[in-house]
């Protein structure tokens, strides 16, 4: 067991939370370019749906800090924080979000379809779709005798999709090195967890597959670190899959443009007051692992890195339109 992060891990987690958050803040404002005064998804430099992960960074960093590039991650329609933590090439990722030739897929995928084979990262826009592939990647490693753990992220809404059940059962029957991570932000678009889910906590569903189920409360970075560390170590040691549910927070709308009228009054403000990034900053400051100067440094570096990625993306060309016809088959 591996309950306490090292200083280096703590700072890594903090840094990647900041990086992810700043990336999203910038995407948020760039996304709105061309979409005012009348919001139209098709307009601006970043058209289409945009699912921000603000508030959910602890889930990404607390898990991915334990992973190497060889480990596999499948993420969701809300992928940025996880991509950042998994080490996806930031330039190519941002360029993909802009749809540019230099993007991960030359602009064919966009924000919901980020594939970086170098760090074994992928995501998809269909709820629960990443679970089977994570199981299969883990099987691949087992068959090849190669190291590697697969982590499948999903929202709490996905835990009611049939794919969840099938994938967890299969991973358990075959005792594969997979960790299933549920980011419980309490909402699936406008539907509250208790209106969609027959149990208050999805970690309880682990027993239906004879696998350990772990719950992490309160979006707590280090508690996530600890739970994920255990689960990933178990997987690496051949002890099979684990299910983790993390109580996290969606600080933005489901996607940009979401009016969020369905949220109870005051909920969002409350969540913002518990924003995990200032919380973790405070924790690190209190522990004297960070001071104002090093924090400012770290934040500035994050900003610089993101600005560079955005510049890279903005300066890149689009593929010629006919490139749409390529890469259907290789």
């Amino acid at each position: 067991m591996n309950h306490t992060p090292t200083t280096e891990q703590r700072l890594w987690m903090y840094r990647h939370m900041v990086l992810s958050r700043y990336l999203e803040e910038r995407i948020e404002s760039l996304y709105m370019e061309g979409k005012t005064p009348v919001f139209n998804m098709a307009k601006g430099p970043i058209p289409g749906e945009m699912h921000l992960s603000n508030g959910q960074e602890p889930c990404a960093v607390g898990v991915c800090v334990h992973l190497t590039p060889e480990d596999i991650v499948t993420a969701t329609h809300r992928p940025h924080h996880i991509a950042v933590a998994k080490g996806v090439d930031l330039d190519a990722m941002v360029a993909e979000i802009f749809g540019k030739a230099t993007g991960l897929a030359g602009g064919r995928g966009g924000h919901m379809h980020l594939f970086d084979a170098k760090v074994n990262f992928s995501c998809s826009g269909i709820i629960g779709e990443g679970l089977g592939p994570a199981v299969g990647a883990a099987l691949s490693r087992k068959l090849q005798g190669k190291p590697g753990v697969a982590v499948a992220f999903m929202g709490e809404g996905a835990a009611n999709q049939g794919a969840f059940h099938e994938a967890l059962n299969l991973a358990a029957v075959w005792q594969l090195p997979v960790v299933f991570v549920i980011e419980d932000n309490a909402w699936g678009i406008s539907v509250a967890k208790q209106a969609s889910t027959a149990v208050p906590r999805n970690d309880r569903r682990a027993s239906a597959y004879g696998m350990p189920g772990v719950h992490v409360a309160d979006n707590d970075v280090e508690a996530i670190f600890s739970a994920a560390g255990d689960a990933i170590a178990r997987a690496r040691e051949g002890q099979g899959p684990t299910l983790i549910e993390i109580e996290t927070a969606r600080l933005a709308g489901h996607f940009m443009g979401d009016g969020e009228d369905y949220r109870p009054k005051g909920e969002k403000e409350g969540l913002k007051q518990r924003d995990p990034i200032p919380r973790y900053r405070r924790q690190l400051l209190d522990a004297e692992l960070l001071d104002d100067i090093s924090d400012t440094d770290l934040v500035e570096q994050a900003h610089a890195r993101i600005e560079a990625a955005i510049r890279f993306a903005q300066d890149s060309e689009f593929l010629p339109p006919e490139a749409a016809l390529e890469m259907v088959f290789v």
């Binding site: 139209n40 826009g125 699936g188």
Partner: protein, 343 residues
């Protein structure tokens, strides 16, 4: 642009509002009608087509579901077979793969398997179409996919008048009806809006017969056949061609199953030229079927080779440059006509 909106008043509605109005009217008249799906409740549907229903009819009859399409579409079949008339929503047609068994092996076949003794009066509403950079899992039309499989009616209106009439008809039908509404026609500001889809709609309830195409513009040089968003591309192309001195007839299919082959054949018999416009994938879909339906009836009616302006056989790319290039549009239709006249 002459939309045949018989009986229409002057109040214009979007398709989203027209669908919601038809649903509300049926719900008021028939306690068996209820609505299920993701975010159809307080949110009013991601695409606005259940707006107002939750407030009027409450949580029992307008039910938000878990993200469990197989279960709730299967449940709709069970409820329909038990005497209810569910309207169920598959948020994006692109998600059909998680629940197609409930749709095509269950919803579409139970009438047959029961020798007609079990009715399946349900409506499966689902959004189609791209053009706003939602990429390959949120932009498809899949018209051909649904129309190919027997046992379900399939409609896809191009304007709010038809949408209301077809929705009412679908709800009243004792057979399962797949109601495919195109996002760019919904009149949701955030998706852009095809203005031509927002047309006068009578307040009172009315039903349109499912299975009838309509000639939305008459002409004699070429027949443009399409459905949903494609109809508006055709109308724009027809306008452009008129400016060049050609007269294009535009057929709005409205329904894929049943398919009104007579109306198409009659139009092509008159014009001698056929262009099919389809935002669904090119091969093995709507465009092939329409062309085959014409030539198998009369192989000599064509003065030129028929053409299709369809989505290429590629996943839908995110980048707007690529997506817009791949989508059907009026220019491509005009081009296709020019090439037809050259050859």
């Amino acid at each position: 642009m002459s939309m045949t909106t018989t009986g229409a008043g002057t109040r214009k509605l979007t398709i989203a509002r027209a669908m919601a109005e038809a649903t509300a009217q049926e719900m008021r008249n028939d306690p068996r009608v209820f609505v299920m799906g993701e975010d159809v409740g307080p949110l009013g549907g991601v695409f606005g087509n259940t707006r107002g229903l939750y407030d009027e009819f409450g949580a029992e009859r307008v039910r938000d579901t878990p993200i469990s399409e197989t279960a709730f579409i299967g449940a709709a079949v069970g409820a329909a077979s038990d005497g209810m008339r569910p309207i169920v929503e598959l948020m994006f047609v692109d998600f059909f793969g998680v629940c197609m068994d409930a749709i095509y092996n269950l919803m579409a076949k139970n009438i047959y398997f029961s020798g007609g003794k079990v009715k399946v009066p349900m409506v499966l509403m689902t959004s189609t179409g791209g053009g706003y950079s939602d990429a390959g899992q949120h932009s498809q039309c899949l018209y051909g996919t649904f129309a190919h499989l027997p046992g379900m009616k399939v409609v896809a209106p191009s304007n709010a008048y038809d949408a209301k009439g077809l929705m009412t008809a679908a709800i009243r039908d004792d057979n399962p009806v797949v109601f495919m509404y195109h996002k760019s026609l919904q009149g949701m500001g955030w998706l852009g809006t095809e203005k031509g889809a927002t047309v006068p709609v009578p307040e009172e309830s009315y039903a349109l017969e499912i299975g009838k195409a309509t000639v939305v513009r008459e002409g004699h040089d070429v027949t443009l056949v399409s459905l949903a968003a494609g109809v508006h591309h055709c109308l724009r192309a027809a306008q452009a061609l008129e400016d060049e001195g050609f007269s294009a007839e535009v057929v709005d299919l409205r329904s894929l199953v049943p398919l009104d082959r007579e109306t198409i054949r009659a139009s092509v018999a008159k014009t001698g030229r056929l262009i099919v416009v389809d935002e669904d994938y090119h091969s093995y879909g709507v465009s092939g079927e329409i062309i085959a339906s014409v030539v198998e009836h009369d192989h000599a009616c064509l003065k030129a080779a028929p053409r299709r302006v369809a989505y290429p056989d590629i996943p839908i790319p995110f980048a707007p440059t690529m997506e817009q290039w791949a989508l059907p549009n009026a220019d491509k239709i005009v081009d296709a006509f020019h090439q037809m006249m050259l050859s």
